[in-house]
Amino acid sequence: MLVMRRRAGESFLVGDDIEIQVLQVSGTRVKLGINAPPSAVIVRREIQITQNENQTAARSVSPHAIESLLNRLPALAAPPADSAGRQDFDESHNPRLS
């Protein structure tokens, strides 16, 4: 990984047409300005991680996956005896199962 030091107001280039400028540094937060052509896709890293993980999770759902999940996790599958502090989802929020 290339590491460089920049101060607020300074910038650097990625390729010929992407400029990233450090606008402000305060504490642990850095505000960046990005000049890039519309074709450049700019996405926060954590959003991209979440996009990929959501797509993988959606693909993983199947009746078999549900069954093995429940078989794998009997300790979790048993309804807790004590409801204190337990998060639950009220039946009234649900549609009726036909």
């Binding site: 954590e46 959003i47 991680i49 979440t50 996009q51 990929n52 993980e53 959501n54 797509q55 993988t56 999770a57 959606a58 993983s60 759902v61 199947s62 009746p63 996956a65 549900i66 093995s68 999940l69 429940l70 794998r72 996790l73 009997p74 300790a75 979790l76 599958a77 309804p79 502090g85 337990r86 998060q87 639950d88 989802f89 009220d90 039946e91 929020h93 649900n94 549609p95 009726r96 199962l97 036909s98």
Partner: protein, 155 residues
């Protein structure tokens, strides 16, 4: 009463008031704006988040406290505003909001994982939901879901 086909179950009927609205969709599924949540006694404590638009799209979720009893959720003012929650207090999980993690089932050898980094948060009163990335939290997007007896046998 409208009905939807579901990925994992039979066709279900639902009322419009049972739908939850996700104004921004989910990352990777930005056009999916409405879901219903299903929980079934035979698959407790799993929740199923079924798209109304797309029958083939369903997520398996687990309430975060089932996975991580000490889970710390922090919603910044932008997230509170997006969820139409009061800006002054952190909402109470289970009372004001649902906070659940998306499960990713894996093959037979690998443990399933849950995304604790980006839980699904739902304002239960106004039925608005979004996935809120807990950037500062240190939680993993692939937290292994290990049964308690497996943990015990490892110690």
């Amino acid at each position: 009463m409208p009905s939807i086909r579901t990925k994992c179950f039979q066709e279900i009927d639902y009322t419009d008031s049972a739908a939850f609205h996700f104004p921004c969709g989910l990352p990777g599924f930005e056009h999916e704006r409405a879901f219903v949540f299903l929980n079934r006694p035979d698959s407790h404590p799993l929740l199923f988040m079924q798209s109304i638009l797309t029958p083939e799209l369903c997520f398996i979720l687990l309430p975060v406290f089932v996975v991580a009893p000490q889970y710390q959720l922090v919603l910044d003012e932008d997230a509170l505003a997006d969820l139409q929650l009061p800006p002054t207090d952190q909402p109470k999980i289970g009372a004001d909001i649902l906070c659940a993690a998306i499960v990713c089932a894996k093959g037979n050898q690998e443990p399933p994982t849950v995304n604790l980094l980006a839980p699904v948060i739902v304002n239960l009163r106004d039925r608005i939901g979004m996935q809120v990335i807990q950037t500062q939290s240190g939680y993993s997007h692939r937290h292994p879901l290990v049964a308690q007896q497996e943990l015990a046998s490892c110690s």
